[in-house]
Amino acid sequence: MSTLGLAAAVLRRDLALAYRRWGDVASPVMFFAIVSSLFPLALSPQRDVLQLLGPGVLWIAALLSMLLSLNALFRQDLEDGSMEQLAIGPQSLPAVMLAKAAAHWLVAGLPLILLAPLLAVTYHLPGSGVTALCLTLLLGTPTLSLLGSVGAALTAGVRQSGGLLALLVLPLCLPVLIFGARGTALAADGEVISGPLYLLAAFAVLAASLVPFASAAAIRISLD
């Protein structure tokens, strides 16, 4: 079986599973929506305060929401033995890992991007800021899924791994958070943000080409 066909088959299976367990998929998205609408209520409804905080708050909420769903990324595969089946054969395990990360992005990252414009309005972000928020999320969240998949693969065999996963993954996500949030804030002030966008795109390409190999090695450790 070709590597591409393998990745497509794993992606399709994971999406079918997400469709069957849509509650698990919906709760991190709801978390994102609720956490980011708590800030205007708790801080101050003043326009300039919200405009100042909006990009950072939305980006942090997106990061935490994606982290929330990472815990389950490999847990089931390990428990029901389907990861063993994938690891035994001659198939390329990195391709499987890339497909798993892609499936995670589709169910945990993409909905955030669709929801972000709505939430940006509650922070009085101008049009340029909303566009920038969506663009930075579009380029940044795939990197978060990929980096998170390494952590999830390493901690898949550990009980109560949520805290450990956050400790492993959050520091790695800092560059994405910095460029994503700052880029959005700069765009809201009317500046050109091609620099941060190019950097986020470079992170994404780098992560997509290197990270699957690391997650494949990590899942082999977890299977042992």
Binding site: M1, L6, Q85, A87, G89
Partner: protein, 204 residues
């Protein structure tokens, strides 16, 4: 031909096996026996490359099974304690995925459902099937795989008399076709093909 040389494995402070050697030639089976906790499953996982032994190597036709995994192609069909089926997907979805993974078409598994008594359950979610039915479904994956080496961990668990007879007949057919089988079993089983027994847990 499958052979293992000098396998040593520790689990925690317990030595499961030390300098273990065995060889199985085409058309014959190796039965692993031993008390619970004697390392049968672990040895099977070492053969599959899932667990790394401290020393030693497992070779297939003289080539290292672990290191040359990608070049050797589909060598192993493994059926472990876990079925490897997704409980939230239907039986048909699971088997279609399994078939695609080992490069087989849809018809390969559909022909097997009738003799295994699963024909009526294809659209059911796997979590709704009984333990025995799930075991039978996992067996389908081994049966459609082109792999010459079958590694089965307690293949008779949860099965009724008809199911056991079917598994043993399938193993016999596989051996008659020149395959190799590695079985961890507790029961006394009758195979018409030649078989050797490896007793684990007795420190020699």
């Amino acid at each position: 031909m499958l052979d293992a040389k000098g396998l040593t494995l520790w689990r925690g402070y317990q030595c499961l096996f030390e300098q273990l050697n065995f060889a199985v030639s085409a058309g014959s089976a190796l039965l692993l026996r031993g008390a619970n906790g004697s390392g049968k499953t672990t040895l099977l996982r070492v053969v599959c490359g899932l667990t790394r032994p401290e020393t030693g190597e497992v070779r297939w036709q003289g080539r290292d099974l672990q290191r040359e995994r990608a070049q050797l192609g589909q060598v192993i069909a493994y059926s472990g304690h876990q079925t490897g089926l997704k409980s939230d997907l239907s039986l048909a979805q699971n088997l279609r995925f399994a078939a695609r993974l080992c490069g087989q078409g849809d018809d390969a598994w559909q022909a097997l459902l009738e003799p295994l008594g699963l024909a009526a359950s294809t659209q059911l979610d796997v979590r709704l099937l009984s333990a025995g039915q799930q075991r039978r479904a996992a067996l389908v994956r081994t049966l459609i795989s082109p792999a010459p080496l079958w590694v089965m961990d307690e293949p008779l668990a949860n099965l009724d008399a008809a199911g056991r007879a079917y598994v043993l007949a399938a193993v016999d057919r596989h051996l008659a076709d020149g395959g190799i089988a590695l079985l961890a079993v507790h029961e006394e089983i009758e195979l018409s093909a030649p078989s050797k027994t490896l007793l684990l847990g007795e420190t020699a």
